[in-house]
């Protein structure tokens, strides 16, 4: 029970400090007085008596200090006192404090903001249970050039049965569903998935239940699970929705559950899930020929994904031997889910984080420099403190307290700054995750901010220490020593260091900006201006025959053409960038020697290619004549034409069937970049007129492109009205301009470039500020020397040159070091760049010259000031 006594005592010495001190004072004084009285009684004079009493005590202040030490609270007390003192110092120099706080706040804020996204996307993965145990499994066929391809159902079932590396494997594929009977008909992107998908992901529905294992089999009652967003938007968040029946593709489906908010798998726009199973697909070749599925699995405990991969590869080899017809050359690969989902975003986020760390380093060295400069002004103060018995540790602690206090306030500024920037950071989140992850201010983020603030506080707080202790005490006390003994080497080093880092940031930014310019300059193969696009997915039950579909397309095009301002309009299977699927084999009559090649297949209306602004290189466009009563024709893209020797016009080709029927090539058009603007299309394209289509199938047109005279979006409502005039239950989705689709290709790069540019600007300004401050200080310190030189006949020009020479040495060193660092680290950026080498001489030279120029400009004012020194005033001070 000792603490009953000691704790109140400790608290008392901490919080009633003045009282406790007073008591200590009284106690000692009482002793001295009594002793002195006794000494007087023994015959001493009062003076002698008092002196003897004091001497017996042996240094009253020291004894008091020993008594204080006994309280064991002196560490806390000292820290509190240090902080108090630091607060006083900060308040005495509000300008300095504000500037340092702002610089550090920006540095910390930039880091925290970027970290919030890195954390949300890379480190804090999804709402899945143990997401690091989740993997995706793919097939690959290197001979056909697919490193990463969708899985055939039969193979999926064999993996599931024969592998013991997974707790379970689920499969799914994207589909679009018509939701009718609930207000306006809607086309919803959804997923058909094996019933175990949610248990594999380990996410429970917010309402209702998972699918059960028999659901999705033919003949079972149909069910669905809704996304939180769909449930809120379409069903008003009705809690009674579970068990109700809704119309999906005109079939009644019972709602089994609603997924929680933020669960968006596999994409942000997935709105519902419908179960499906694949019975009987293991027998027969069809189940192994159609590669459609995405497969996600949960690893058993202690199994590494590499082990799982080895296992599925073994199974794939066995399948290739058993079913050579379908599985020859098909292998398998496993990719951790997190890696799969963030892919390219990973590197660009790390790049941003690296850049922001550099900015923080620059900010730190800048503030360190400011403290150093101020430290020189405080030399006398610290010398006095040392003379009064403050040990080195004590002084160090004092400086540390100031640094940490500064960084703590900067931390608050930084977190506020980061929180304010969240809304601008959306575009950094890869589209597959958008909507599923958000940067938030949480404990992890605050922890990160506090950690980096503390680290920087220690770094720049202690930076002045070495300098401070180098000061000779006796020299410090001589009044006029301010300039002579000043060492500037460590400060010059810091300035060079800042310059070097700034070069790295600026060069990196330059490379990314050039990438964006290059992408912007890429000819996508079509003219994106003034084109409205939308998707009309036809429901199988409403349009069960190709005749009905053709009639619908005709009617829509007819009505759209009648709208004012429409120049041309056309249907296609998929617009560029909207789907990377829909490829079939390309076959040429009489040429079995051409290696199997996949091309994208598009069924289009006659005007589609013209409406897109694709250039016709040879032959003719489709016409209204090209229907089933006429010759079967096709237009192929340049890439496909290259596969044919000689003139392609008039040649006979087929898509998907090596035995025909043969289509006659009537035209060749330029290649469009189908997969993304930054990469040339891997595959060529074959276009056929929809009017010659004979089947209701995947390739039937769904996307409509309308070229107009003015603002495309102003036509959107009218087009929608016309479509609903034809069929009030028809869904109209993805209404946007072609430019928007194109812009999405670069939007996250643009944000990245904007952030990097801000970082660059910040680092350049900080480096310039650092140099300016240091030179101003140097000029001030060498005032007398300059005065003397002037008096001896030096011209102002010579003095300016002297200062500039010094600054050029520092900047030059920094710039060269920065160039060297850039050359080493830039290579790691190459996969983020397009059309520019990571060591692009132009970008590097521009960065070097920029920093050099800015540096010299920053030096001009102090240099000019040096030339304006009046020798008389300068010398009078001596």
């Amino acid at each position: 029970m000792r603490w009953l006594h000691t704790v109140p005592l400790r608290l008392r010495s901490l919080f009633r400090r003045r009282r406790v001190e007073q008591e200590l004072d009284d106690e000692i004084r009482y002793h001295i007085e009594r002793q002195a009285e006794q000494n007087i009684a023994a015959g001493m004079t009062p003076g002698e008596a008092r002196y003897a009493a004091l001497r017996a005590m042996g240094g009253v202040e020291q004894r008091k200090e020993e008594c204080r030490d006994m309280r064991k609270m002196h560490l806390v007390e000292d820290v509190l006192r240090d902080l108090q003192y630091a607060v006083r110092m900060m308040r005495r120099n509000p300008g300095f404090t504000l500037l340092a706080m702002l610089i550090m706040g920006l540095g910390i804020g930039a880091n925290t903001a970027v970290f919030s996204v890195v954390d949300a996307v890379l480190l804090k993965p999804f709402s899945f249970r143990q997401p690091d145990r989740l993997v995706t499994v793919w097939e690959e066929n290197m001979r056909l050039g697919y490193p990463h391809t969708d899985v055939a159902a039969g193979n999926y079932l064999d993996w599931k049965e024969q592998s013991d590396a997974f707790e379970d494997l689920a499969a799914y594929f994207g589909n679009a569903f018509n939701l009718t009977g609930e207000g306006t008909p809607e086309r919803l992107d959804g997923i058909q998935a094996t019933p175990n998908l949610f248990s594999v992901l380990g996410v429970k529905p917010a309402l209702g239940r998972w699918f059960n294992s028999s659901e999705g089999l033919p003949g079972q009652s149909q069910v669905t699970i809704l996304s939180y967003g769909l449930w809120k938007r379409k069903f008003g968040g009705n809690p009674q929705i579970v068990g109700q029946s809704i119309l999906i593709n005109d079939q009644p489906h019972t709602v089994a559950g609603v997924m929680p908010e933020g669960f968006e798998f596999p994409r942000g726009d997935t709105q519902l899930w419908v179960p499906i199973q694949f019975p009987g697909t293991q027998s027969g070749s069809a189940g192994r020929n159609v590669h459609l599925l995405s497969v996600v699995g949960r690893l058993k405990p202690l199994i590494r994904w590499q082990q799982a991969e080895t296992q599925v590869q073994t199974i794939a080899r066995r399948l290739a031997e058993t079913y050579p017809e379908t599985n020859k050359d098909y292998g398998a690969l496993v990719i951790p889910l997190q890696q799969e989902f963030v892919r390219d975003a990973r590197l660009s986020l790390w790049l941003l984080l690296a850049a922001s760390v550099l900015v923080l380093a620059i900010a730190c060295s800048n503030v360190a420099n400011m403290l150093l400069t101020r430290g020189v002004g405080r030399t006398r103060e610290i010398a006095i403190r040392s003379a009064l018995g403050a040990g080195r540790r004590r002084v160090a602690r004092q400086l540390l307290a100031e640094g940490v206090l500064l960084s703590a306030t900067a931390c608050v500024v930084g977190v506020l700054f980061a929180a304010a920037s969240f809304q601008f950071l959306d575009n950094l989140i890869p589209p597959a995750l958008s909507g599923a992850v958000f940067p938030t201010v949480d404990l992890r983020l605050l922890g990160f901010a506090v950690l980096i603030s503390l680290l920087s506080g220690i770094v720049f707080g202690l930076a002045p220490l070495r300098e401070t202790f180098r000061v000779d005490l006796s020299e410090a006390f001589r009044a006029r020593s301010a300039g002579s003994g000043v060492r500037i080497r460590s400060r010059a080093f810091l300035v060079a260091f800042e310059t070097a880092l700034a070069v790295v940031v600026v060069a990196g930014t330059g490379l990314v900006v050039r990438t964006i310019m290059n992408i912007g300059a890429v000819d996508p193969g079509f003219r994106p201006q003034n084109v409205l696009t939308l998707r009309l997915e036809l429901a199988a039950n409403q349009y069960p025959t190709i005749e009905k579909r053709i009639a619908f397309y005709r009617e829509v095009l007819g009505r759209v053409h009648a709208l004012p301002g429409v120049i041309s309009a056309g249907f296609t299977t998929f617009l560029p960038y909207t789907n990377f699927g829909g490829a079939t084999g390309f076959f040429v009559e009489g040429r079995s020697d051409i290696p199997p090649t996949m091309v994208y297949r598009r069924e289009t209306s006659s005007e589609y290619l013209a409406a897109m602004g694709v250039s016709l290189l040879k032959g003719r466009w489709f016409t209204e004549e090209d229907d089933r009563n006429h010759l079967l024709v096709t237009i192929i893209s340049e890439g496909a034409a290259r596969l044919l020797d000689g003139d392609p016009i008039g040649r006979h080709v087929n898509f998907g069937n090596p035995r025909g029927p043969w289509l006659t090539v009537v035209g060749v058009v330029g290649d469009m970049r189908e997969e993304g603007v930054a990469l040339p299309s891997r595959r060529a394209v074959g276009y056929t007129p929809y009017a010659q289509s004979t089947e209701v199938w995947f390739f039937n047109p769904r996307d409509l492109a309308i070229r107009v005279q003015a603002d495309p979006m102003s036509l959107a409502a009218a087009v929608q009205r016309e479509v609903w005039g034809i069929n009030p239950n028809q869904t109209v989705a993805q209404i946007r301009t072609l430019e928007t689709i194109l812009d999405q290709q670069v939007s996250n790069r643009k944000l990245q470039a904007a952030l990097l540019s801000a970082f660059s600007l910040l680092s350049i300004s900080l480096a310039a500020l650092g140099l300016y401050a240091l030179l101003s200080f140097v000029v001030q310190a060498r005032k007398q020397e300059f005065g003397v030189r002037m008096a001896l006949g030096a011209t102002p020009r010579q003095l300016v040159a002297a200062v500039l020479r010094q600054s050029v040495r520092w900047i030059g060193g920094g710039v060269l070091a920065g160039l060297a660092i850039t050359l080493v680290v830039a290579r790691s950026l190459s996969s983020l760049l397009y059309g520019v080498e990571p060591t692009d001489p132009l970008t590097l030279a521009a960065s070097v010259f920029l920093l050099f120029g800015v540096g010299v400009s920053a030096a001009l004012v102090p240099a000019w000031r040096a030339s304006r020194i009046d020798p008389m005033t300068a010398l009078r001070h001596e």
Binding site: M1, R2, W3, L4, H5, T6, L9, R10, E23, D26, E27, I28, Y30, H31, E33, R34, Q35, A56, M57, G58, G59, Q62, R63, E66, C67, D69, M70, R71, K72
Partner: protein, 111 residues
């Protein structure tokens, strides 16, 4: 800086507690009593007394109270706490064992 090392480590603490066990005292009285009883044998400086008192107080073995002193001025009176008393018993026993052992060793050498 001189620390209270004039005496064997812990001995001063023991002496102080022993005196306070008899009656509450203020610091000066303790110093007087120490001089009286140990005379010239034990040199306890006034300087080392107060840190020792403060240490014992912080340990919770003695407690302090301000009260009027003999000459009607307020002085800080120290007295032994209950756990202080237990500590004193323990330390006294330790001391007896230690001094007996030392005596034995010293005599052994002489003999």
């Amino acid at each position: 800086m001189s620390k209270p090392t004039d005496l064997v480590q812990g001995t001063l603490d023991l002496l102080i507690m022993k005196m306070l066990a008899l009656e509450p005292m203020h610091g000066w009285a303790v110093s007087q009593r120490l001089k009286q009883i140990s005379g010239d044998v034990l040199q306890v400086s006034d300087g080392s007394l107060y840190p020792a008192l403060h240490k014992l107080e912080q340990e919770g073995w003695i407690k302090a109270e301000w009260a009027p002193s003999e000459n009607n001025r307020r002085a800080k009176y120290y007295s032994l706490t209950r756990i202080g008393r237990r500590e004193l018993e323990k330390e006294t026993a330790n001391w007896s064992r230690l001094s007996a052992a030392i005596t034995q060793v010293v005599q052994l050498e002489k003999g």
